[in-house]
Symmetry: C2
Subunit: 126 residues, 2 copies
């Protein structure tokens, strides 16, 4: 995967990746990969990311078992970001929802509204 | 929109927004908004972004006319990014493709392959 790595524009060592559901095509989450996370993701076929808040490489779903199997990798026109379609186990969000984008912004009332149902109980998993 | 602005975690003044097609739900591009771009987007219903390479606020599609009408705004679980579903005029990518993610990575051959057809001729538009 040397060609890909050289082509991508890592910024401060990271590149953002939109993770989307391979079935519905809906975005699930946005994560950041460093070169090591990208190599590990492609070599294993499972999303690994660089968690900025913890400053380290992690397997997505490492604790919960809610892993993401890579189905397709796409690169944007400027080589500044990735789009990765995955098969998601159970749910992507640690709050129990399938997608991290489970809240819709109500513009008129200036507030967030929960959309969709909880798939699992976070207290029972973490 | 004061509540939303205060809730979001702008990093160095910016927040990333995944822009996705409201019809197919497929991601089209990733852009960055500062507070002013977010306010202008919500007030006008048309995506405005902060173009990092030019250091300024711009209307997406301002030159080409390929604007993005906001249909729905979603916020991720950590308030670190937005997902905005839009009605896309013509195409999102300045290279002539509907989505900026028009290249698929062929893992075995370590190269990018174009997927999908050109919607317009960039030389005729820009």
């Amino acid at each position: 995967m040397q060609n890909l790595v050289e082509q991508l524009n890592f910024k401060n060592g990271l590149i953002p990746a939109v993770i989307a559901d391979n079935e519905s095509k809906m975005p699930l989450t946005l994560c950041y990969l460093n070169e090591e996370a990208l190599r590990k993701s492609l070599n294993t076929g499972i999303i690994h990311l660089f968690r900025r808040s913890k400053g380290k490489l992690m397997k997505k779903g490492g604790t919960s078992g809610h892993t993401q199997k890579i189905e397709e990798v796409r690169v944007d026109c400027a080589e500044n970001s990735l789009l990765i379609y995955v098969s998601q186990k159970v749910a992507a969000c640690h709050n129990g929802f399938f997608s991290c984008y489970y809240r819709r912004y109500n513009i008129e009332e200036d507030r967030l509204e929960i959309e969709g149902e909880k798939v699992f109980d976070p207290d029972a998993v973490y």
